[in-house]
């Protein structure tokens, strides 16, 4: 009988370093710099002195109870709040790559091309899948068919939808399932090659499998894009994001790496919210 001790053993020369799944606490290279931001709708202030920095090529999640201002903040980043009468920044600034996006000389149209958005309720246009994705390109002035074909395929691949729709590109976008529609909206946003993608509760209307596919997609996308996601689903924030900001009543209560927020938050209110003690 051969003893276990006699068997040849090969020890690895060098043990691999332990995998550190927590994002570093050191200041990440920020691409968005929000500084002491106050935001008001009409007479009603909704954001108070918000300061945070969003890291490039990482996923940042905003969590908080309803009405805490997280959707307002994310819509400030691509100035979609401009569509609402009386909504304006009353103090502070938002800088993207060093440029103040609320300065009067900024071209909002260009900003929105570089900061894309995916909405809570998926809103594919009542056009074919192909035309949905080509829309952003065409309004930017790109009309060459070959270029558009290329971009459509590229975006659909990036959104993990290509294999499912490649032989029915001229079918209406409404013929897809809910999860596929949302991925179509993501592909549409990616087609114009933004740097930053904002997602406002992208999975709240989807079933668990569709949600999982989108979370997987987010994980892949963050290698190339900076992603900011607003979510009500704490587990999703915990799974998907590298950094998390907790908002309450218009203020940023805590902003840190996701691992820290969900294992050992510094603020009492953060802990109470994430453990389901209020909100």
């Amino acid at each position: 009988m051969v003893s276990l001790l006699d068997m040849p053993r090969t020890l690895p020369q060098q043990l691999p370093p332990p995998v550190d799944r927590s994002a570093p606490e050191i200041e990440p290279a920020p691409i968005i710099d929000v500084s002491e931001l106050d935001f008001t709708y009409g007479n009603h202030q909704v954001l108070f002195d918000v300061t945070l920095r969003i890291a490039a090529r990482a996923v940042t999640a905003f969590i908080g109870p309803s009405g805490c201002g997280k959707t307002t903040l994310i819509r400030c980043l691509n100035r979609m709040n401009d569509l609402i009468d009386g909504a304006r920044v009353t103090a502070g600034s938002i800088r993207i790559e060093g440029v103040d996006i609320n300065a009067p000389e900024i071209d909002v149209v260009d900003l929105r091309r570089r900061v894309g958005m995916v909405f809570q309720k998926s809103n594919p246009f009542p056009k074919s899948i192909y035309d949905n994705i080509a829309y952003g390109l065409r309004i930017a002035g790109i009309t060459r068919r070959s270029r558009i074909d290329e971009a459509v395929e590229k975006s659909l691949r990036a959104a993990a939808l290509w294999d499912e729709v490649k032989d029915r590109l001229h079918v209406s976008g409404y013929g897809l399932s809910g999860g596929q529609q949302q991925r179509l909206c993501i592909a549409r946003a990616l087609a114009v090659e933004p740097d930053i993608v904002l997602m406002d509760e992208p999975c709240s209307a989807l079933d668990p499998i569709a949600t999982a596919k989108i979370e997987e997609l987010i994980y892949e996308l963050k290698q190339r894009y900076t992603i900011v996601i607003v979510t009500h689903n704490m587990q999703q924030a915990g799974r998907c994001s590298d950094y998390t900001g907790f908002f309450y009543l218009g203020r940023l209560i805590e902003f840190a790496s996701t691992n820290k927020i969900f294992t050992n938050p510094s603020e009492r209110r953060t802990e109470d919210y994430i453990t389901g003690r209020f909100g």
Partner: protein
């Protein structure tokens, strides 16, 4: 607790009464419409359709109105139109006792042409101005007191009697602008008349387009006009076309606005017979509703005039229905291409 039997009976009876009231009201409407259509249809078809090939009285549809001469000759009753009578006179030199009845021979061809021109022109004008106004109201404007005032003004415009439009058009376009009785004056007057309906319906159609389409488009870096042009307006078009159906019917059928502004009782030239192309816009035309009015009230009534009246009314109805049908078909085609 089950209701007492008498209570049950009462509610059941009430239900039946209410149901039958609604049903009878509908049938009443149906009956009126049927009577009108049948009346015009039967009497009018006597004029429009003939018993021999090609089964349509082409003379009625393609000739201008002429005076009818009725007389007895050698025991036969002769009914000849103006030209026919003159030709007959060439061969029969004797004097005959003729009764002449205006407008009762020939046809209504110029009226058809005139109405068509008026409808096309005024609807084009009304749609252009109306849709533009609707876009402004629904997409660009903010809720200020001025805006509310504008909306009230539009609503009030809808309630203005058509004769007032006629007088307004007469005073402004015919006299003040110096256009005289002309197509232009008619177009503007009719266009203004139908404008409130177009604006309201277009605005509704624009509002029916979900906000998500606008936001999605803007978030991709489109300008506001690009968004409207490519992502909102195309989807509002079916609704706008529907609103134009009612508009066409109204524009084609109103007499009062065109009475002083565009319509002639009798005109010898066809609208395309102008010396300079600019004269085209400044000429008056004959129009179906006005012709019916003239034949019905400006000349003594007899069996011959009745023929013309009903024939004209019948043709008129058919024309409007055709236009409406076209609009509906267009709308269905648009609608089948997109849905949400």
């Amino acid at each position: 607790m089950i209701a007492a039997p008498s209570n049950r009976q009462r509610t059941r009876i009430l239900e039946r009464i209410v149901f039958w009231t609604f049903r009878l009201a509908t049938y009443l409407v149906l009956a009126c419409a049927t009577y009108i259509f049948l009346d015009i249809g039967i009497k009018g078809s006597r004029t429009v359709f003939t018993s021999h090939a090609p089964f349509i009285n082409l003379k009625f549809l393609t000739q201008p109105p002429q005076t009818l001469y009725v007389f007895d000759y050698e025991g036969k009753k002769m009914e000849l139109s103006d030209r026919e009578f003159r030709d007959w006179k060439l061969t029969h030199k004797e004097d005959v006792d003729v009764t002449s009845i205006s407008y009762s021979a020939g046809g209504i061809w110029p009226c058809i042409v005139g109405t068509a021109l008026l409808v096309i022109g005024s609807m084009t004008l009304a749609l252009f101005i109306g849709i533009s106004a609707a876009i402004y109201l629904s997409e660009y404007s903010r809720d200020t007191p001025l805006l509310r005032f504008i909306r009230i003004a539009i609503l009030n415009l809808a309630g203005v009697p058509s004769i007032v439009f006629g007088l307004f058009g007469f005073g402004l376009f015919v006299i003040f602008f110096g256009w005289n009785v002309s197509l232009l004056a008619g177009w503007f007057t009719l266009g203004l008349m139908v404008l409130p309906a177009i604006i309201t319906a277009s605005e509704e159609s624009l509002r029916a387009v979900p906000q998500g389409l606008r936001e999605g488009s803007l978030a991709l870096g489109a300008t506001k006009w690009q968004t409207i042009r490519k992502n909102v307006l195309p989807y509002a078009v079916p609704g706008i076309l529907t609103s134009s159906i009612l508009g066409i019917a109204r524009v084609a059928g109103e007499t009062a606005p065109i009475m002083f502004t565009a319509a002639y009782a009798m005109r010898d030239e066809m609208p395309w017979q102008v010396s300079r192309w600019t004269d085209f816009f400044f000429q008056g035309v004959m129009a179906l509703p006005y012709h019916i009015y003239v034949v019905s009230s400006k000349i003594p009534q007899n069996e011959y005039t009745e023929r013309v009246q009903y024939g004209a009314a019948f043709v008129f109805l058919v024309l409007v229905m055709l236009i409406a049908l076209t609009s509906i078909l267009l709308r269905e085609r648009q609608r089948s291409r997109l849905s949400w």
